[in-house]
Subunit: 152 residues, 2 copies
């Protein structure tokens, strides 16, 4: 049994794939940045429609909004271990304030989940509805970034 | 209204954050690699318990297994545009075979979702159950990597 477990673990998904970053929390930083990039890809699809840079497409808007809502619903708590801030790790812009007493990270995460759920309802309903839901999404992104991400 | 939309989009989540990679599909590649890293972080937690490197902790195992199942349930289809293979993009190991006719990507994705769901049931139930579900997860990872990821 133990041999089987170990043999299986030899096939772990990213064994042999290099991390872009180094440092004690390189995996966590890469994972959380990738999930934010997943948000961004899908917000980009919705935003291009909102701005008229791409034609409104209800099906594509639904895929993007569903993806955003799915991503925002993930538990990413394990990707933010204490100490994985920009003072400790060159590859992240996360401010130590994120880990300070009273930092309402949970509330900000809920703001994004709620905004994404609103977008999920709005995006397939029509371009005006999609546009109407963009501000909530942008506000949720900004709420967290303003307090917890270093200016670049 | 349009000004509001544009102002909101100025707050887009990753405006101002540099991509680790460059190329036509840098965002998609970063997002998909980050999501796989999210799998790996959580499989690592489960694997450490399976191997006896960390004490079995039902609550922590549940968090990790729930995260793996949540990640495996995301629609990531938009992260794999045709042409985002290793021949076109230096930062990915994705083989062109992934986009070939008959490549059963959907079936392999389902294999991971099913294995993650089995782990979700098993992980909080006990160490033996967790160990029993590891092979399914490893097999699902390997099934996709064997066919679609370049050897490193």
């Amino acid at each position: 049994m133990k041999a089987l477990v170990i043999a299986t673990l030899g096939l772990l998904p990213l064994a042999g794939s290099a991390l872009a970053e180094e440092g004690p929390f390189a995996s966590q930083v890469e994972a959380r940045q990738g999930i934010m990039r997943y948000y961004a890809v899908n917000i980009g699809t919705l935003g291009a429609m909102a701005k008229g840079e791409a034609p409104y497409d209800a099906a594509a808007a639904k895929v993007a909004a569903d993806a955003l809502a799915g991503g925002a619903s993930l538990d990413t708590s394990m990707l933010w271990p204490k100490g994985s801030d920009k003072d400790a790790h060159p590859g992240t812009a996360a401010l130590p304030a994120l880990w300070a007493d009273g930092a309402d990270v949970g509330g900000k995460a809920k703001q994004l989940r709620d905004a994404a759920a609103a977008m999920q309802a709005a995006a397939p309903a029509g371009l005006d509805q999609l546009r109407g839901a963009m501000k909530g999404v942008g506000d949720a992104c900004a709420a967290c970034h303003k307090d917890f991400r270093a200016e670049s």
